[in-house]
């Protein structure tokens, strides 16, 4: 059995680079047949593009298949669906439980990963997958847990596994500790190679590095780190945002969607009051929010049995989704479209769309979760202590850490509250000193 190799390290310590290097080195030894490929896996959709870029940069000549763990599992289960007792093609569902549709079996991704793990545990399937993909590469491995992690464990029995992880970047609610990193520790005892990286590469800006160290180690920085501006009211934060104009691309990151909505609204109001041209922020709505919106617009309502294209004018996305549903129904020979069929098609439409939804623009507004695994020249973090109350202190630190480490050049925190509460905050307080958003009159004059 091949021993897996792991790369652990903080954000920006060059884990991915090491990962690619290890992959490149072992291809000559392991990729022998022209049918064989490197299988590059990511846990989330968002990381696919980054993985693609990295593979292109560092493993240009290596034949690679890049997939999310979920979609890889889906392919395996669909191929061997007969052996798993499914007579119909399998499509993933976002509902809580699996069900049989009119033409397909709808399984949750958890179930799909579980079944794929069972299949790969069998010797024929395991051998065949191991032969087809002698090398499996996983970046952001800390996000992998539960059924996905079990699947990876099965893969590691047949393939050479290379994975990079940073347990502090796991942002999942309800997951205790970091299961994947725990597994890495176990594997290490059994002989797996574990490389721990400490030297920061991505960001050479001392302030950002110091801030990330403070958050990670939970020690209040005695030196100045990144700027924290205290804004007792949201209008002040909005004003500050308007005057913040660094070069390069620019991300506004906040823990929740509601925070983003609030600050952008205040920002718009301020611009309107001052008679200025509105500024376009590309808002990455949560997938859930988008799907709900689309369902509402297209009158996809489980209360009714049959779906018809709504008469009201539709947005371009809804139009495409409607066309997708109508075409698929025609292929199946349905004169009436059952609601359950339409809903599952709409969900499929949204999930394929999500794949193409990660192009960078100049100004983006996103949540910490949405910003995961991505990089921006400049980051402004809007932090409202009220909205993160529900999370544990540990989780809040991880959130802020993730937001801070997305920055390549500059990072600024806009804290909703006064100086004192900011310094007392167990998370933001770690960043050291804080200053009022708008100081004495002469400073504000200079700003205008």
């Amino acid at each position: 059995m091949l021993q897996p190799a792991f790369f652990l390290g903080h954000a920006g310590t060059g884990k991915t680079k090491e990962l690619m290097g290890a992959t490149r080195e072992s291809t000559g030894k392991l990729l022998l047949d022209k049918q064989q490929r490197v299988l590059a896996l990511s846990v989330m959709h968002g990381a696919i593009r980054r993985l693609e870029e990295k593979m292109r940069e560092d493993c240009r000549e290596v034949p690679t298949v890049i997939r999310t763990i979920d979609s890889f599992a889906l392919t395996v289960v669909n191929r061997w669906r007969g052996a798993m007792g499914h007579s119909r093609p399998i499509v993933p569902t976002s509902e809580d439980s699996s069900f049989e549709g009119p033409f397909q079996s709808h399984l949750t991704f958890t179930r799909i990963c579980e079944e794929a793990a069972i299949l790969i545990a069998s010797s024929t399937v395991g051998q065949l997958i191991g032969f087809s993909y002698p090398i499996v590469v996983i970046d952001e491995f800390q996000d992998c847990h539960g059924a996905k992690l079990d699947l990876v464990k099965q893969l590691a029995k047949h393939c050479q596994l290379f994975a990079a992880a940073d347990d502090f970047q796991l942002l999942e609610d309800g997951v205790e500790g970091c299961p994947s990193v725990n597994w890495i520790r176990e594997a290490h005892e059994l002989g797996a190679r574990v490389v721990t990286l400490t030297k920061p590469h991505r960001c050479s800006i001392a302030a950002i590095v110091k801030a990330s160290v403070a958050l990670r180690t939970n020690t209040r920085s005695l030196q100045t780190t990144i700027s924290v501006y205290c804004c007792p009211v949201i209008v002040m934060a909005a004003t500050k945002l308007t005057f913040h104009r660094p070069g390069g691309d620019f991300a506004l990151i906040s823990p929740t969607h509601r925070d983003i909505t609030n600050i952008l609204r205040a920002h718009d109001d301020w611009l309107r009051r001052k008679g200025r041209v509105p500024v376009y922020w590309r808002r990455e709505a949560s997938k859930q929010e988008e799907t709900t919106g689309l369902m509402k617009e297209m009158a996809l309502n489980r209360a009714r049995k049959v779906w018809r294209v709504p008469n009201a004018p539709l947005s371009p996305t809804a139009l495409r989704a409607a066309h997708f549903i109508v075409k698929a129904s025609k292929l199946r020979g349905l004169s009436e479209i059952p609601m359950s069929f339409a809903v599952s098609l709409a969900q499929r439409f949204m999930s394929t769309r999500a794949l193409w939804h990660h192009r960078a623009v100049k100004r983006m507004a996103l949540t910490v979760h949405g910003a995961k695994n991505r990089e921006f020249d400049n980051v402004v973090i809007f932090w409202s202590p009220h909205s993160v109350k529900g999370w544990s202190e540990e989780m809040r630190r991880r959130l802020l850490y993730n937001a801070v480490t997305r920055a390549k050049r500059t990072c600024v925190v806009l804290y909703l509250g006064d100086e004192q509460s900011c310094l007392d905050d167990p998370v933001v307080g770690l960043l050291g000193s804080a200053e009022p958003a708008f100081g004495p009159p002469k400073r504000s004059k200079r700003a205008t």
Partner: protein, 610 residues
């Protein structure tokens, strides 16, 4: 590699059905049984491009495809490599990455087992499928060839498309029944080009030389008088329109002067010998037999070449017997079997079929779209063992196969019943009067030895439940009816009248000629006073005369001049065919008894012992 199973839905005249292929097989069946559909389905699935016309509405069952209509052709492939290795990793081009899903073929259940690991007594297999639909918006047909993982709609569900090279490696070649020279052996035919490419034998340089020769070194028609003068006049007239001398003039050559045109315009001739090229005869003018055989032999030569290179070769031949002398049929069958890894032959010729073991003969039937196929036996002849139907496969194989394909089947009680009926059939069919009066449907007779009528019927009823047992009216006949009814339930049984055997039937037919006896009849009944029906019955039943086939022949053919005799024979045979078809016989002397099992016993009251 070989094809072990084919499953069709909505293809041509077949709504649904599957067929299992042994290594070498012959498909037997009446017209429209779906033999050609099976052969062409395989060719369509495995050929890189369509060798025939593009798809049409008629390729879909019912001939009226809707947007949701699909026809599918799904094949199971097995025996990868030398057939002993069952590890899919050994065949990465088929199974690795996004390839076929390994499934397991069981020769016992003749089915695929879908399991992650190999169950005992199964072999590694892969399933490939083709689906087609009609796109009513684009007004065109769409085809997809994909790895089959269970029922799905490849036009909506995700599917993994099969790389073309992989399908080509299966090496399926079809010899279609429409064997026209220009279609199959000209350079315009893709089969022929395929063959040449496989040999790396496309005569590229020669074509190039020929192309250049045709450009300059040919007789120039445009220079021949008076045509040349006319051309010149027209050219100078043309010049006056443009106020200058034309730079171009007309020239004529036998073909377009590019390589493709030259290649396509080549016509094959038979030259008397290599030196004497003056004597040429276009091959297209040759008899169909020569062309037919030549095409087949070319494909076989091609196959040999592939086998030498350790490549797979599966030959599908539609009616290889076409235009060939029957004596060549069996030889052909054995040549086909030796030249291919797998061969599938469709035929109407019992002669070809009898060149195969009964476990290689597949009887194909199509009942309102449901294709059913059954191997005549599951075991080879030597394993059938000694039993009463053994002769069906040893002695009467050809008759048996012929009957299977026939429209109506009669199973006479013994060998003499068979001979008599067959004789009367020939006599009746040779007479114009009989043919005009009675529309005689071909009635196939199955010889039964040792009066094993019950066993023979049981054997044939597996394929043709509509077969009709034909029994004597004596006690032995009654006993046999009981035996038949205890083991099966034919819908109809025919029995001769009280105590009557086949000789009594012949006596009844010969009766009108007693007044004007033929010479054979005179020899049989020398005493003029003894020429009665009763004495005829007695004479024919005597143990020596009963078996005298020569006498029977003479009696039958000599009475063919007596119209009344012929009409009696024809009437009886016509009644038999009516009964076999489930209709009422014409002669009022027939009685019908409904046996308890739902079987109707038809008794010929007019044929009885007097």
């Amino acid at each position: 590699m070989r094809i072990c199973k084919l499953h069709l839905t909505n293809f041509r005249g077949i709504e649904r059905g599957s067929i299992v292929f042994p290594k070498h097989s012959v498909l037997l069946g009446s017209n429209n049984a779906g033999k050609s559909a099976v052969a062409e389905a395989l060719a369509l699935l495995f050929s890189r491009d369509r060798m025939y016309q593009p798809l049409s509405d008629w390729d879909f069952y019912g001939g009226d495809p809707k947007p949701e209509s699909r026809f599918t052709i799904t094949a199971t492939l097995s025996d990868f490599g030398d057939g002993t290795n069952d590890n899919p990793v050994s065949f990465p081009e088929w199974f690795a990455g996004n390839g076929a899903t390994p499934v397991w073929w069981s020769e016992v259940t003749e089915n695929v087992v879908e399991a992650a690991d190999r169950p005992p007594q199964t072999k590694l297999a892969a399933q490939v499928s083709l689906a087609a639909r009609y796109d009513d918006e684009a007004c065109e047909f769409e085809l997809k060839r994909f790895f089959y993982d269970g029922e799905c709609d490849p036009f909506d569900d995700d599917c993994r498309v099969i790389p073309n090279d992989l399908l080509r490696d299966v090496g399926v070649f079809l010899l279609p029944s429409a064997r026209e020279w220009d279609k199959l052996l000209s350079f315009g035919s893709s089969t022929f080009i395929k063959v040449l490419k496989e040999y790396e034998a496309v005569p590229g340089l020669a074509i190039d030389t020929l192309k250049h020769d045709l450009r300059s070194r040919v007789t120039k028609v445009e220079e021949a008088e008076p045509f040349a003068t006319i051309l010149k006049d027209a050219e100078s007239e043309l010049g006056s329109f443009f106020f200058k001398e034309s730079e171009f003039h007309l020239a004529y050559r036998p073909t377009g002067l590019d390589a493709t045109s030259v290649l396509r315009s080549l016509v094959a001739f038979l030259a008397r010998d290599a030196q004497d090229t003056d004597f040429l005869l276009p091959v297209a003018r040759q008899g169909s037999g020569v062309i037919s055989l030549q095409t087949l032999l070319l494909l076989l030569a091609f196959g040999r070449k592939r086998l030498e290179r350790a490549k797979n070769f599966i030959l599908i031949a539609e009616e290889p017997e076409l235009h060939l002398h029957p004596a060549l049929h069996r030889k052909l069958a054995s040549r086909i079997q030796s030249a291919a890894v797998q061969s599938i032959v469709t035929t109407h010729s019992p002669n070809i079929a009898s060149g195969y073991q009964p476990n290689q003969v597949i009887f194909v039937r199509n009942q309102v779209g449901k294709l059913s196929s059954k191997r005549v036996r599951r075991e080879a002849i030597r394993e059938i063992g000694k039993n009463r139907v053994e002769n069906l496969y040893l002695k009467f194989r050809q008759e048996f196969y012929e009957a299977l394909m026939g429209p109506l089947i009669l199973v006479p009680e013994g060998i003499f019943d068979y001979h008599w009926l067959r004789l009367w059939q020939r006599v009746a069919e040779s007479s114009d009067t009989a043919i005009t009066k009675f529309r005689l449907t071909p009635l196939c007779l199955i010889p039964t030895s040792d009066s094993a009528v019950a066993e023979t019927f049981l054997e044939i009823s597996q394929f043709r439940p509509d077969a009709v047992p034909f029994l004597d009216g004596d006690r032995a006949g009654n006993d046999k009816i009981k035996t038949i009814l205890s083991s099966s339930s034919p819908s109809r049984i025919v029995q001769l009248g009280a105590d009557a055997g086949a000789e009594y039937l012949s006596s009844w037919i010969l009766e009108p000629s007693l007044g004007d006896p033929s010479s054979a009849l005179v020899t049989l009944l020398p005493d003029t006073n003894e020429r009665s029906l009763r004495s005829l019955q007695r004479a024919l039943s005597r143990s020596q005369e009963k078996k005298d086939l020569e006498l029977h022949e003479n009696l039958a053919w000599e009475c063919a001049n007596n119209e009344n005799c012929v009409l009696r024979a024809a009437e009886f045979l016509y009644d038999l065919s009516l009964i076999a078809r489930g209709e009422a016989p014409t002669n009022t002397a027939w009685t019908i008894e409904n046996a308890t099992t739902g079987t109707s016993i038809f008794r010929a009251g007019h044929i009885k012992r007097v």
